[in-house]
């Protein structure tokens, strides 16, 4: 490597001049830099988070009082479908991708991900799919069969309008992006670790992302097939889920949940990783039980693939299947419990700093435990016949997804914001975000447990007065508004921070443990001037404890090879976007044209090699 670098040292300047470097908007459209792609994911994900949040607020306004008519019943169906779909696929996952893009290569001591081009392609296909999915609002009707799109409700017989076509094709395109991301991060973590960083020295967030990527890679193709089948049913008259012509609706449920249950863990495992990092940093202690944490992650992932039918107890699979899936589901509580106790033991005796990130992490632990406990309750098949399709289920999954994942994302954003943008978020406003959001969250969803137990079914447009549901629905709606306020405070915080100078230190929290805190905030394009040598777990902490002020380099300073920016990923995604509309509107020209654009870009990418360019870090520093 070093000899190669020396050979090309004098070429370096020639390369920097020949490769086109974009500025401004074009820079963002063509970037293959994982840090910038992370920011793109964050912007897009947060935009969809606001859209999904607005939908949630509208749902809660409709349910504020009995017999309300704020929105029409069919609009309500669209709202709840789009709320779920948007939040899971277009808000939560992209924000996770934002964190993993921003942090994982830095924690590995890598200069970029394994496939920078695919990384960019993954973002743009996700974004094209997300936009397509939401365009349903401006057509006849948005998707309205629930985020699970159960057949036959989502099939052509009972859903003749284009509504569900937007769901099927939008998710299909967005799913490609997610799958590419999963492959990319698996390959990155396996191949791109800095010298000395064995698997068992990787930071816990990176481990969580590794396992998450594994889940993405093996779960998303199942969704792809399900969506293809549903698309063929809807657009080409196939009969997968049409019982009149031999199809089977339960098959959709199985396919959806074989994907869908791992998807739940795709959402929560990164949050586990964030919490591990934050708790350990702000307790100024090594993470308790590192290897059991890793083992628990792997076990959760494994079991996560074997429990999907607990979403289908009421389908009537029979006592044997129900018993098996009950036991499997309850087993997951064991590794999850291991993680909870490890966090508690990390906190125990630590010298704790209650920063905003730490508040979110500490709020996460009991909240997630509550979601987990209701999960074990739901896992009991006979009891599930009572809970099924009631607000109890709504309360449960919002406790794990909002109380788990969203609190985790907020913790991660406050923690890594200085690393991503070079500026600290305001701590006062951050704490205000936490308290409004946290209290609002519990107000909204705690009472929903009891609404469910009282018999309020989920997905209902309205309810009759004086059935014991009125007050709790009001409380729930007030909580939702409070969460909205919390989100607005966060946005305000971001805007205020934006106006401040970039003054974050490399080790922004002073107690950083992993490699991302050894490089400037925000990091230079090439991340590490010299690839660091990792001498133990918590690599940076170890060096600090040994009295060092920087990492031991594993290579001499030299020109650094960088991949060229490319506009192709954006154009490929636009091609898929056009082809998607072609499929929906039965327009052969648009379909073939769109796919032709995509394939043409693949052709160009294959034929013209990307030679990249070189950056001379010493030279750069003069300018900086």
């Amino acid at each position: 490597m070093s000899t190669h670098a020396a050979n090309t040292a004098h070429d370096a300047h020639a390369h920097t001049h020949t490769v086109k470097r974009y500025r401004g908007l074009m820079d963002w459209l063509t970037t293959v830099d994982h840090k910038k792609i992370g920011i793109l994911y964050l912007i897009a994900g947060f935009f969809f988070f606001l859209v999904g949040g607005a939908e949630a607020i509208m749902i809660r306004i409709q349910l504020l009082k009995p017999m309300n008519d704020f929105v029409a019943a069919d609009t309500f169906n669209e709202l709840l479908t789009m709320h779920g779909t948007t939040m899971i696929f277009l808000a939560a996952m992209p924000m996770l991708f934002a964190l993993m893009n921003a942090v994982v290569p830095l924690q590995l001591g890598a200069r970029d991900v394994a496939f920078p081009f695919l990384n960019s392609l993954g973002f743009w296909t996700f974004f094209a799919g997300g936009i397509l999915l939401n365009l349903g609002w401006f057509d006849a009707s948005a998707p309205d069969a629930g985020w699970t799109a159960y057949a036959p409700l989502s099939g052509p017989t009972f859903n003749g309008s284009r509504a569900m076509d937007y769901y099927v094709i939008g998710l299909q395109i967005a799913g490609i992006g997610t799958l590419l991301g999963g492959i990319n991060f698996m390959a990155t973590i396996i191949n791109m670790r800095a010298p000395g960083m064995s698997f068992m020295r990787m930071p816990m967030f990176t481990w969580a992302i590794f396992i998450t990527s594994v889940l993405i890679v093996f779960a998303f193709p199942v969704l792809t097939v399900g969506l293809v089948a549903l698309m063929f049913d809807r657009l080409f008259g196939a009969n997968f889920f049409e019982s009149g012509t031999g199809g089977n609706e339960v098959l959709w449920e199985h396919i959806f949940w074989i994907f869908g249950h791992p998807e739940v863990y795709i959402l929560i495992l990164p949050a586990f990783g964030v919490i591990s990092e934050v708790v350990s940093t702000f307790s100024r202690k090594r993470l308790f039980g590192y290897s059991s944490m890793v083992f628990a992650l792997v076990l959760i992932a494994f079991l996560g693939f074997m429990v999907w039918a607990h979403h289908m107890f009421a389908t009537g699979l029979g006592p044997v299947a129900n018993a098996l899936f009950s036991i499997g589901t309850m087993l997951i509580a064991v590794p999850t419990g291991v993680k909870i106790f490890n966090w508690l033991f990390t906190l125990w005796g630590g010298s704790i700093r209650y920063t905003t990130a730490m508040l979110f992490a500490v709020g996460f632990i009991p909240t997630f435990v509550m979601g987990g406990v209701t999960g074990v309750m739901l896992a009991s098949a006979p009891a599930d016949y009572q809970y099924h399709d009631s607000y109890f289920v709504v309360a449960h999954f919002h406790y794990v997804i909002v109380g788990g994942l969203i609190l985790g994302i907020f913790a991660g954003l406050h923690y890594w914001w200085p690393k991503m943008f070079g500026r600290h978020l305001n701590e006062g406003l951050g704490k205000l975000t936490f308290w409004t959001f946290f209290i609002g969250f519990h107000l909204t969803f705690f009472v929903q447990h009891f609404l469910g137990l009282l018999g309020m079914p989920r997905r209902v447009w309205t309810y009759l007065p004086n059935q014991g549901l009125d007050n709790m629905n009001l409380i729930s709606s007030i909580g939702a508004f409070l969460m909205g306020i919390g989100t607005i405070v966060f946005v305000t915080n971001v805007i205020i921070t934006w106006l401040k100078p970039r003054n974050a230190e490399a080790d922004a929290w002073e107690d950083g443990r992993s490699l991302e805190w050894t490089i400037p905030s925000p990091p230079p394009e090439y991340n590490f001037k010299q690839t660091p040598l990792v001498r133990g777990a918590d690599a940076w902490w170890k060096e600090k404890m040994d009295g060092k002020t920087e990492m031991t380099p594993a290579e001499p300073v030299g020109p650094i090879h960088m991949p060229s920016p490319s506009i192709l990923p954006l154009i490929m995604s636009i091609g898929l976007f056009i082809a998607g509309f072609g499929f929906m509107y039965d327009n052969l020209l648009a379909t073939i044209g769109g796919l032709a654009v995509t394939f043409a870009c693949m052709f160009l990418r294959s034929v013209f090699d990307d030679h990249g360019f070189h950056i001379d870090p010493e030279h750069e520093e003069v300018h900086a």
Partner: protein, 104 residues
């Protein structure tokens, strides 16, 4: 090749791969395919037994091809093996589902 004694290590690294093992794999695959087709063409064996033969032949053939043609028996293929095994594991659950839990 082997005549150059002075750089035996060079010879080892640049050894010419023979086609023999691939032809063996091909013949094996051929035989397994023919057995499967013959079992069906014969016609009068009982259905369950035929199914067992068919699935067994398919699985053996896939192992042969993965090992020889896709180089999975070679060094440095830990993660490829993990990837395929994990995929097969998910497929296994999906197929069990299709057989037992879709119609009842």
């Amino acid at each position: 090749m082997a005549s150059n004694h002075s750089s035996s290590e060079e010879v080892k690294r640049h050894r010419v791969e023979g086609p023999q093992k691939h032809i063996v794999a091909f013949v094996l695959s051929l035989a397994l395919t023919i057995i499967a087709f013959a079992a069906v063409a014969a016609g009068d064996i009982n259905t369950t037994f035929t199914y067992i033969i068919l699935v067994a032949m398919a699985i053996i053939q896939v192992f042969v091809q993965l090992a020889f043609w896709m180089h999975m028996k070679d060094r440095g293929h830990l993660f490829p093996i993990i990837a395929i095994v994990a995929g097969v594991f998910v497929v296994f659950t999906a197929v069990i589902t299709a057989v037992y839990w879709v119609w009842w």
